[in-house]
């Protein structure tokens, strides 16, 4: 997967408490989810899209929750972090979640097109409007600074584009990964930091926005490593040459996505499974430390949760005593 971005909060599809290793999500995220239930957020997003594009109402109504972000903890991260910094306006927080869901709708389409080379035609028609509603809705939260937030979006989108271009370079063959590429995998989430800037500003904690964004991107590097490992079979099928796919193909000839067990065995055997989890643990550890320094408790807590999850999976892998681990 290309990796959606949190502004477009890509976000966690896992229900609270599930996931690798089973470590539960931070309480602040679950609390935010309780205050703004997913059914409410997705309904508002569908209403907003239907109002802007009445002709597409049936299409929008038919969308699964996953098009808008699902009930993941990650989706609620900007709102929860804003509340932690002192933002208490429920209307603003609810609106933020709605616009993030709209952004997610756009990036679902974009990710699918990039990853698969094909996407549903009607989603294509809706996608541009979803992006516009996301951007307009976001800047309307603080209209006096709208130019600055749009600028932030363009800047972070450029970072996202650079990250996607690095991905695409690997599709031309077995192009080895570099260390800097792996460390910067989280850059694909860069547009998600605009929401973090927004809540920091609204909470009167503007000085926290940049360091918290750095922590968030480090967290996202870990998440991307975990996801790329999990998605190796599908990525092999679609030609998405992530690090696990590239490493497995380099070590073993003739891997076929139609034989998923063989692919997973190759990912373990070439050492990239353990390597990905170790590197993810390092990224989560750094993210927690950076977030602590930024007084971004929710990000820090989520990074620790994922550190536990990745470490647990690494231990499980090592316990098998397989070559490559």
């Amino acid at each position: 997967m290309t990796g959606n971005i949190p502004a477009a909060p890509a976000v966690v599809r896992a229900a609270a408490g599930s996931g690798v290793g089973g470590a539960p999500l931070p309480a602040a995220l679950l609390d935010e989810q309780d205050r703004h239930p997913w059914a409410e957020v997705s309904r508002h997003a569908r209403q907003r899209l239907s109002a802007a594009l009445p002709v597409m109402r049936d299409e929008v109504t038919s969308y699964a929750d996953s098009v808008f972000g699902l009930t993941s903890g990650f989706f609620y991260l900007p709102a929860a972090q804003g509340r932690c910094w002192g933002l208490r306006d429920e209307h603003v927080l609810g609106e933020l979640l709605t616009v993030l869901a709209l952004g997610h709708c756009h990036y679902v389409f974009q990710d699918e097109l990039i990853d698969e080379g094909i996407a549903p035609a009607k989603l294509c028609l809706v996608s541009d409007t979803a992006l516009l509603l996301y951007l307009d809705g976001l800047v309307d939260l603080r209209p006096t600074e709208s130019t600055r937030y749009r600028r932030l979006h363009y800047d972070t989108y450029a970072t996202y584009c650079a990250a996607i271009l690095r991905d695409l370079r690997h599709r031309s063959g077995l192009v080895p990964y570099t260390a800097s590429e792996l460390a910067a995998l989280g850059d694909k989430a860069a547009p998600g930091t605009v929401a973090l800037h927004m809540v920091a500003d609204l909470a009167g904690r503007a000085d926290r926005a940049v360091p918290a964004s750095t922590a968030l991107l480090r967290l996202c590097t870990g998440l991307q490593l975990v996801d790329d490992l999990k998605d190796a079979v599908e990525d092999l099928r679609t030609g998405n040459r992530t690090w696990p796919v590239t490493a497995a193909l380099s070590a073993y000839d003739e891997l076929d996505a139609a034989d998923p067990e063989r692919v997973r065995a190759a990912v373990v055997g070439c050492g990239v499974a353990a390597g990905s989890l170790r590197l993810a643990c390092a990224a989560f550890g750094e993210a927690a430390a950076l977030a602590d320094a930024a007084d971004a408790d929710v990000i820090a807590d989520l990074a620790r949760v994922w550190h536990r999850r990745a470490a647990a999976e690494l231990r499980q892998l090592e316990a098998l005593g397989l070559p490559g681990t």
């Binding site: 690095r166 260390a179 792996l182 460390a183 750095t214 055997g269 390092a282 397989l322």
Partner: protein, 50 residues
């Protein structure tokens, strides 16, 4: 594509270099894939992290 490494990413980049080196070293002596396959548990269907 050359990528500038931000100073605050140096530690993670160094760690990534080590992991890449380990994977690269294994490439020539990768274990038999069928042996690994036999001993691996079934996939558990965990959902995406994002």
């Amino acid at each position: 594509m050359q990528q500038t490494i931000p100073a605050d990413m140096a530690e993670l980049t160094t760690h990534a270099e080590q992991e890449l080196a380990e994977v690269s070293e294994r490439r020539e002596s990768a274990p038999d894939i069928e042996e690994i396959r036999k001993r691996m548990p079934q996939a558990n269907g965990d959902q995406d992290a994002w």
